[in-house]
């Protein structure tokens, strides 16, 4: 494992700890740290997806406020903080930009564990880092395709036509995620 990966892992664990402090102690310092790191990234993402600066600023503030209010729902054995923030930002984007609903899948029947297994948390965070590193290392062309899909520049049928999409990168993570789901269901 490279030192960049190790650095990112420590960072991930840090963000997880910040969310726990917001959940347990309403800790504004932790929130300020998360805000400084993620708010400019969320705003960048929204502007790349077609928001103007004013709307992106407003939506980002709402996304970060939602993070505070929903801190008790964050489960680090299922997502990194960055992934969780992405899902909140995506849902707000659909509300604000497209003015329609996005039906969500049913919640898992075994519910939400207050203290997830640390080994599961570590595995998920490591796996997510590996996916992140693989995406960062992609050739420019393939990376651009993925970005276009997530910024809304490609329709689902255009995504289907793009043979250059590096789905193998994503698939290596799926097996592990599925194993964990089945393990939880026992």
């Amino acid at each position: 494992m490279t030192s960049t990966n190790e650095k990112r892992e420590t960072e991930n664990e840090d963000w997880v700890a910040c969310i726990a402090l917001i959940r347990d102690d309403r800790d504004e310092k932790s929130f300020a740290r998360l805000f400084a790191h993620f708010a400019p990234r969320v705003k960048g993402f929204l502007m790349r997806s077609g928001s103007d600066a004013t709307q992106a600023e407003e939506t980002t503030q709402e996304v970060m406020a939602t993070l505070w209010q929903k801190a008790h729902l964050f489960d680090p054995s299922r997502a990194t903080v960055a992934t969780w923030i992405f899902t909140i930002a995506r849902n707000r984007k659909i509300d604000a930009l497209r003015r329609q609903k996005r039906p969500e899948p049913e919640d898992l029947p075994w519910g939400h564990e207050p203290e997830p297994d640390q080994a599961d948390v570590l595995a998920l965070q490591q796996e997510s880092d590996q996916l992140g590193a693989a995406i960062a290392a992609l050739p420019e062309k393939q990376r651009t395709l993925i970005e276009k899909a997530y910024f809304g520049d490609l329709s689902h049928s255009e995504i289907a036509e793009q043979t250059g999409l590096p789905l193998g990168t994503i698939k290596s993570r799926i097996r592990l995620a599925l194993d964990r789901l089945r393990h939880e269901m026992k």
Binding site: T87, Y150, G152, L181
Partner: protein, 218 residues
């Protein structure tokens, strides 16, 4: 929640677009309903969401305004940030949760309209770029032979149907495009109920459904 073995899954392209949040509502509804029935696709969605997280983490930043943190804290104190709806939890009425918002009171309360040959449908209220409908196909009956201009997703909720491609049981999703002309026939054992989403009108081969098409919005 897995109820039986699902053999036909959401495609990568649809799952990526669902994760990105770029699908029309009718397609999102169909994908979310399938995921509610299929652990494998739930895990796949987790991976696609993680790609979104990576793009946020690695993506370009845009400076926030100077007072943005204070403004956000004010939002929090006032409880102003409208919450996006929480994921629906229970499986009431034997229907996967994403459908609850669209079918008030379960399958018994659906206001079916006959479309011929015993087949009934009910259009669900979604945004207009694509149409979602429930289809009720009596055991052994056929949906008229048709092709597609855009994409048609058909998700089996109850029973099963067979067409030129394969047999589709509960939880299975068929993704049909311009290349497929098909005549889905419900299994003889039980009536079949499907959730179908289309982003362009279907093309019927025979005259009668073609004449009826403008009235039935299929």
């Amino acid at each position: 929640m897995t109820h039986n073995e699902i053999r036909h899954h959401v495609t990568d392209a649809l799952l990526m677009a669902y994760s990105a949040g770029t699908l029309p509502e009718a397609f999102s509804l169909t994908v979310a309903t399938h995921i509610s029935m299929c652990d494998e696709c739930r895990a796949r969605l987790g991976a696609f969401d993680c790609v979104g997280g990576t793009l946020i983490e690695q993506g370009a930043t845009m400076d926030m305004s100077d007072d943005s943190l204070a403004a956000t804290m004010a939002l929090i104190r006032n409880g102003d940030a409208q919450d996006t709806a929480p994921a629906p939890k229970s499986r009431a009425n034997g229907l996967p949760a994403p459908l609850h918002d669209y079918i008030d009171g379960g399958l018994d309360k659906v206001r079916w309209r006959h479309v011929g040959m015993g087949v009934k449908q009910a259009i669900l209220p979604t945004s207009p770029e694509a149409t979602a409908r429930l289809l009720y196909i009596p055991a052994g009956a056929a949906v008229p032979d048709h092709g597609h201009r855009g994409t048609e997703l058909t998700l089996v909720l109850q029973g099963a149907f067979v067409d030129e491609v394969d047999r589709f049981g509960p939880g299975d999703m068929e993704v049909a495009n311009e290349d497929l002309d098909h005549t889905p026939v419900a299994d003889i054992g039980a009536d079949c109920i499907c959730l179908a989403a289309t982003d362009a009108p279907l093309r019927f081969r025979s005259m009668i459904p073609r004449l009826a098409q403008p009235f039935l919005r299929i």
